[in-house]
Symmetry: C2
């Protein structure tokens, strides 16, 4: 599973950072999921190897513009690029109404169907090799986190159990290995009862804007990675009086409490410069986080790519 950041700025784009958008690639094949779609996300995609044909679903964390204003354009471009396959959009209810109003007002007729799933109902959604759960967060608008868990984990046959059961080596073993349930001696045998997973399912949680990281306690169970906003430092939050966002220390303390192995921060206020000597610099956020969190910390930049391998090891992919 790979994470590719398409935008890491909060609220407005800067010269070097776009607003929110994250591509989550499946471990096999070209399939990918888009989480949030700020304006200009399609432009960022042009500079990657991602194709709109292999986009499996779009997840919107909340209705604020820096997380969704790129939706009409990305859908229009996917249509002009010849996409025909239906596309699932998991988003707060307002997004469906807005996209319908947009299609109507701007004469946008998509050549593929949109299948909306309302995140306000905290849905669990199954894709071919991914299960996605929804979790409620705290923000000025209803905001959600999405937990992505792989469902097709490499597995070996449990030979001991098969032998005990008296199931003869042959086609039945093959079917069970491939994940199919089979009938044997009048009994229905479940594939997963006769398989031993080679590794723990990989799980990545991607959260929208949120000022109460504690709400992610359940979501983070079994997760190797949490992607969360760190819009400000603690000092800046107090000065700004801005509500609804997390600051570095707040999310760091939560990640430490749940012993999260890997924390990826994003959605930095546009005031933060990439230059470590500038003020304020995103180095300020790094320092504040590291003071309270002992796991592996990553600060996303636009086009940063990370990979989560089968053993649960998470690391940045070196740029080309």
């Amino acid at each position: 599973m790979n994470l590719l950041f398409l935008g890491t700025s909060a609220g407005v784009p800067t010269k070097s950072r776009n607003v929110s958008g994250i591509a989550l690639r499946e471990s096999k094949g070209k399939g990918w999921y888009l989480i949030d779609c700020g304006e200009g996300t399609q432009h960022q995609v042009l500079h990657t190897k991602l194709s709109f044909h292999s986009l499996k679903a779009i997840f919107i964390t909340h209705v604020h513009g820096d997380h969704c204003y790129g939706l009409p354009g990305i859908l229009a471009s996917a249509g002009m690029g010849g996409r025909k396959a239906p596309l699932t959009i998991v988003a707060p209810a307002g997004i469906k109404a807005w996209l319908e109003a947009t299609c109507e007002a701007t004469q946008l007729c998509l050549p593929f169907a949109l299948e909306f799933i309302d995140s306000d109902g905290l849905p669990s959604v199954e894709f071919e090799s991914m299960a996605v759960s929804t979790f409620r967060l705290s923000h000025r608008a209803p905001s959600y986190a999405y937990g992505f868990t792989e469902t097709k984990v490499d597995a070996d046959l449990n030979i001991e159990k098969l032998t005990q059961k008296g199931i003869p080596r042959g086609p039945l073993w093959g079917q069970l290995k491939q994940g199919f349930d089979v009938e044997f001696a009048g009994e229905q045998l479940k594939s997963h009862d006769y398989l031993i997973s080679k590794h723990k399912p990989r799980k990545v949680v991607i959260a929208g804007d949120n000022d109460q990281p504690d709400l992610l306690f359940e979501a983070c169970a079994g997760a190797q990675v949490l992607v969360h906003e760190a819009t400000y430092t603690e000092e800046m939050t107090q000065k700004a009086g801005d509500v609804g966002h997390s600051y570095a220390k707040l999310i760091a303390a939560f990640a430490e409490t749940v012993q999260l192995p890997n924390l990826v921060l994003t959605h930095f206020s546009p005031r933060f410069q990439l230059n470590p000597h500038a003020s304020p610099s995103i180095e300020d956020i790094r320092k504040e986080t590291e003071n309270a969190y002992s796991g592996s910390l990553f600060q996303a930049r636009d086009f940063s790519e990370y990979t989560l391998d089968k053993a649960g090891r998470f690391s940045e992919v070196a740029g080309e």
Copy 2:
């Protein structure tokens, strides 16, 4: 008056060209007008010296997404940047409804007022130093051209006329020179009756998508510059069977007929490469246009800037 192209691609952005957006700068001061606002226009603006504080109005030629999907984001960013001054938006009626739906759905509360003017009524709009007329075009959606004429032309006093009238040299002359009407001997004297313009008012016409250039006959009277789409070559139009757009030869023939001094082409199909040796290349459009048009031809690229001086000379500004 300066023209700065923020996007020159039709329909979808490419790696090197954004969708439609043109900044028209006034000859004095920092005031500017934005004509069309495709997705990512605000990102392009970040790479110029233009400020959202000095944006005087936005004109939308028609409702298709590649001409308007950048509106919500640019307004939101202007608001977050502290703009308080009201902003005029001249656009087809659908745009007002769509922006209202967008504000509602995405909780966008702008800290400045929007003043909508419906282009379907072919309005004439006056700004401090610019008069704008609207002209109907032909496209799949109602589409318009906007003619920008400067209203504050440098002028000398008509001394002969002032003397003939017996108006004494002094404060009255000063007021008339500055454009104020005055009272003299019980009579109301109009400033413009006692001024001799130093040059012809500058006029630039910027057209939306349009497959009938002849509709611009009236708009182009007295204009030094027409900005028009040339989405395809003639051959490509025939192959594509696409309706609603102009091809190079079509707009060239019109420009030749009206003896237009300067023609700027833009809105090229994303299939056209900038590389002159590629196929198709925007050189193909240049050649087809030059075969039918003897005036000065310009093919806009993203961030191309042109200036129209007081003498009506139009030229490209050398990049920095």
